[in-house]
Amino acid sequence: MSEAAAEQLLEITLRVNGVRRSARVPARRLLSDALRHDLGLTGTHVGCEHGVCGACTVLLDGEPARACLVLAVTAQAHEITTVEGIGSDPANLSPVQQAFAESHALQCGFCTPGFITTISAFLVENPHPTPEEAREAISGNLCRCTGYQNIVKAVVRASEIVAERAEAGR
């Protein structure tokens, strides 16, 4: 066996959706692959592996980031939120998830987790977006099914649901 045969594995600890998770990965392991294949969080999808489509978007300390462009080892310093962290229970949807269901903002669902994370972060920054601002906010993510129209609608609707839930919880 040649010297290139064995690859060094590193013990890493990731804080994902509020839980500390450990894995042994090579230095080159992408965060997207580590989440999906080492930690079994398959909600994060990989559509291009070069940072363009946005399907793999997760939040690092609340900021959207492409998990396919981040090495797992470097993500140790951050609080990672995946779509499962936004809401993993089909019977208990987050405002953005509920707005997507109401607005028919997904079809095949493959790009959807990247939109959910991106929009969840956006609404923290801008809780009452106009449709134009909503469109701008999602214009870094690719969707091949919906033509985006209902996603724009869902962003606006999600902001209403946040308000409705706050009102109901008062």
Partner: protein, 799 residues
């Protein structure tokens, strides 16, 4: 009474799962499975002289390395020609792994199976393939010139030549008072689902059986193909289609080499094996579509009525023809749209090139046909100085002429016969929606502001819901749960919702009690697949028919139990009751219990069906001779022909006088797909279709260099529109039911895409005042066209 579900904007049943990361796409399965990766050809045309795999074995974790030499039996034979056609004189298909020669960049040459994908790709990097390069044939002009051949034994690079003629075109053309000729071009794009292909094979050595999960549009097709290739009994192969991240046509092709190799390797290694296509692989080793050169000659009277239409086109089919000539046949026939062409002749040549193969992409040849016809309509209007909608209107097939037989053979080998449609009504709606008659004023106002705007239109007819058949199986469990299965697959169309809506209505049960399974050969072994906008038409009607079988049986059993006539019964919300006597009723789930005489009880409801419960006639068997146990039924829907949906689109575009930037200001759609099961889902299909059409009209193209390298094989360079490029779509609907099927449905999946290139070309032409003959069009191309059409460059940018 329960609410009728068909026609309602019901929220999708599949969404909560997909929204919370609980979807299961093929790469989400098979944790721990071995992973495959492929060495693919870097050359467009070359002979393989040597393959050195020795270094790959040096890596820890490599489990297998295969070349064509390793492939046994039928696995080593060429892939099947899925849809043979008499006009296809020279069909050619590739091998699962290249044998001796490669014919496009991306063709698989070596397969590696390893512990994980990282190791598998490392191993691929260590394999050295020696090639003797051959001159490639790239582009239709080169294919047509045939100075070089893609396949040595295919003269002229022609895989197929087909000509159809109705009437006497030469005579009618000669007699026509007006004649025009158009030369048109349309470039390649591709489906580009967000999830590429993927295959996961589980080999059960004890049972000598295979379970295959594939991101496919046809599980039954993959099953039959894999069983044939691997020499296995059909009963030992099951194909399950998990969640699929979009298809748009590319996943109807089967078996892809990987769909054969992955299960073959799994059986050989006795291990689970998985392959997940990456984006670059998808660009260079899946499929593209659209590329055609077209020549149209049209003869027409002074009112713009067509007298003769003579179309010749050359279709780029890429390196191989596994899917036959479906795409050019559709172009040739669906080109006619809502019009009567007079005498019509169409001839096409399907041409080999050393590029990725060409198979149906949403629209499947219709966008090209619509483009040819609609450019022609605009040219006639311009020639005669008539309003473009007036010329179209004068050529429409009228509602009272339905059914209308064009006298041509359609893609399913059956007559091209429109079943229904009201084209004048559709046009009236579209003109109203876009404000056609007010546009002149808007144009004037824009011009006063220094802006250049144009209005475009495009009309199409889409043959949808082609056969041969689909099946439905409906089963009522003793707890009231209704299981529905159909064999075709789902890639985002919401079948779990629309099919449940149909069954809920037909059976008289609550929507939430209906659970739909698609694309699983364990549940429905007979099916065709999801393509040609056929899902709702075919499986919708199949599950409706199956539900009617179950309903009839339920009423028969309930009639016995309640001692009334079945005619006096009705079912609502899962309760069968005597009409007008609400007290006298029986639950459907109880009928399910009664339908299955039992020896053993496993719950309280089952007790009611056991042999010592209740009374019975000792002279009759527990299950009658002509009956079967269980409250379930199956039926198949098989139509005599396709059903024809239609639509008309209009767009307002603005072109920048200086930079030639093209912006879509408004996009309007009038769409008629017959009865809409779920209008929310239909609208979603239209939106998505338009977005793909916009990509094809303004942004997407496959850029091959002369050596056959695809220069833009990434999402960085191949420009799928983002939200910032896709217009808000304004829609209106007509519902002209199809007389051909029980539910009156027509397909909706592809419609949105079909006319978009035609519409945008029409609008740009209207804005600029010179003809647009090549699509897609970019700002630099429009800018160059302005230079061609304006001899005085100083005039540019001064308006």
């Amino acid at each position: 009474m329960s609410t009728r579900q068909v026609g309602e904007k019901v929220q999708r049943r599949e969404d909560p799962r997909l929204l919370t990361g609980n979807g299961r796409y093929v790469d989400d399965l098979g944790r721990g499975a071995l992973q495959a990766a492929f060495v693919r050809s870097p050359h467009a045309h070359a002979r393989i002289t040597d393959i050195d795999i020795a270094d790959a074995w040096e890596l820890d974790g490599v489990e297998a390395v295969y070349t064509w030499e390793d492939l046994e039996g039928r696995v080593g034979e060429p892939l099947p020609v899925l849809i043979p056609h008499p006009a296809m004189t020279h069909p050619r298909t590739g091998y699962c792994l290249a044998k001796d020669e490669v014919n496009h960049v991306g063709e698989a040459v070596v397969m590696v199976v390893a512990r994980d994908r990282y190791v598998a790709e490392d191993a691929c990097g260590r394999i050295r393939v020696s090639y003797e390069t051959l001159p490639p044939v790239v582009g239709l002009e080169n294919a047509r010139a045939a100075a070089r051949l893609v396949h040595d034994d295919v003269p002229g690079n022609v895989s197929a030549n087909l000509r159809q003629e109705v009437g006497d075109v030469d005579t009618a053309m000669a007699a026509a008072p007006n004649r025009l000729t158009l030369e048109l071009e349309i470039e390649r794009s591709a489906c580009m689902p967000m999830e590429g292909k993927g295959v996961y094979a589980r080999w059960d050595a004890d049972d000598e059986s295979l379970r295959l999960h594939s991101s496919t549009q046809t599980s039954t097709g993959v099953r039959a193909a894999v069983a044939a290739k691997l020499g296995m009994p059909l009963a030992k192969v099951e194909v399950v289609t998990p969640d699929v991240g979009g298809g748009f046509g590319v996943k109807i092709v089967h078996p892809w080499p990987e769909e054969v190799l992955v299960p073959w390797a799994a059986r050989r290694l006795g291990r689970d094996v998985k392959w997940t296509e990456d984006r670059r692989e998808h660009f260079v080793s899946s499929a593209h579509e659209r590329g055609q050169l077209q020549e149209v000659e049209v003869g027409f009277d002074d009112d713009g009525r067509l007298l003769a239409l003579d179309v010749r086109f050359w279709h780029d089919n890429g390196a191989y023809t596994p899917y036959g000539i479906i795409v050019p046949i559709i172009t040739a026939t669906q080109l006619l749209g809502p019009y009567k062409p007079g005498a019509y002749r169409v001839e096409f040549w399907s041409m080999y090139t050393n590029t990725v193969l060409v198979t149906p992409y949403r629209g499947a040849g219709r966008p090209q046909g619509c483009y040819a016809m609609e450019r022609t309509m605009d040219a006639i209007a311009a020639h005669l100085g008539l309003d473009r909608t007036e010329v179209r209107s004068r050529n429409f097939i009228q509602p009272d002429e339905m059914p209308y037989d064009h006298g041509l053979m359609f893609q399913d080998g059956r007559p091209l016969k429109y079943d229904s449609g009201d084209f004048p009504a559709s046009l009236a709606k579209l003109k109203e929606l876009v404000g056609w008659d007010d546009f002149a004023a808007y144009r004037e106002q824009a011009a006063a502001e220094g802006r250049r705007v144009g209005l475009g239109i495009g009309c199409y007819v889409e043959g949808t819901g082609v056969g041969p058949y689909e099946g439905g199986h409906v089963q009522v469990e003793t707890n009231g749960r209704v299981n529905v299965a159909t064999g075709l697959t789902t890639q985002g169309q919401g079948h779990q919702t629309v099919l449940a809506q149909i069954v809920a209505d037909e059976l008289g049960v609550r929507l939430e009690d209906v659970h739909v399974t698609t694309g699983d050969t364990r549940r429905m072994a007979y099916a065709v697949g999801t393509f040609a906008s056929r899902g709702a038409v075919m499986s919708g009607n199949a599950v409706a028919l199956a539900a009617r079988v179950v309903r009839e049986k339920a009423l028969r059993i309930a009639a016995d139990a309640l001692e009334v006539s079945a005619d006096d019964l009705e079912i609502a919300d899962g309760v069968i009751s005597v009409k007008g006597a609400p007290g006298s009723s029986i639950d459907l789930k109880t009928v399910a219990v009664l339908s299955n005489p039992l020896r053993y009880a496993f719950d309280t409801s089952a007790q009611a069906a056991t042999q010592f419960a209740g009374t019975f006639d000792p002279d009759k068997p527990p299950v009658a001779d002509d009956d079967e146990p269980g409250l379930e039924g199956q039926d198949f829907y098989s139509p005599t022909q396709a059903t024809f949906a239609n639509g008309m689109h209009a767009a307002v575009v603005e072109t920048d006088p200086v930079t030639a930037e093209i912006r879509i200001l408004r996009y309007c759609v009038v769409h008629d797909c017959g009865v809409m099961v779920n209008p929310m889902i239909v609208e979603g299909q239209v939106h998505g279709g338009v977005a793909q059409g916009v990509g094809g009209a303004l942004y997407e193209r496959m850029v091959y260099d002369e050596g056959g390298q695809l220069l833009n094989a990434s999402f960085m360079d191949f420009l799928i529109p983002y939200a910032s490029e896709v217009p808000h779509v304004e829609t209106d609907h007509l519902e002209t039911p199809s007389p051909l099927n029980p539910l009156g449905l027509k397909g909706a999946g592809e419609a949105g895409t079909i006319p978009v290139s035609a519409v945008i070309a029409s609008a740009i032409e209207d804005a600029e005042g010179f003809p647009i003959r090549s699509m897609p069009i970019s700002p630099p191309e429009l800018w160059a066209l302005r230079r061609t059409h304006s001899p005085d460059p100083a005039q540019e940018g001064t308006s």
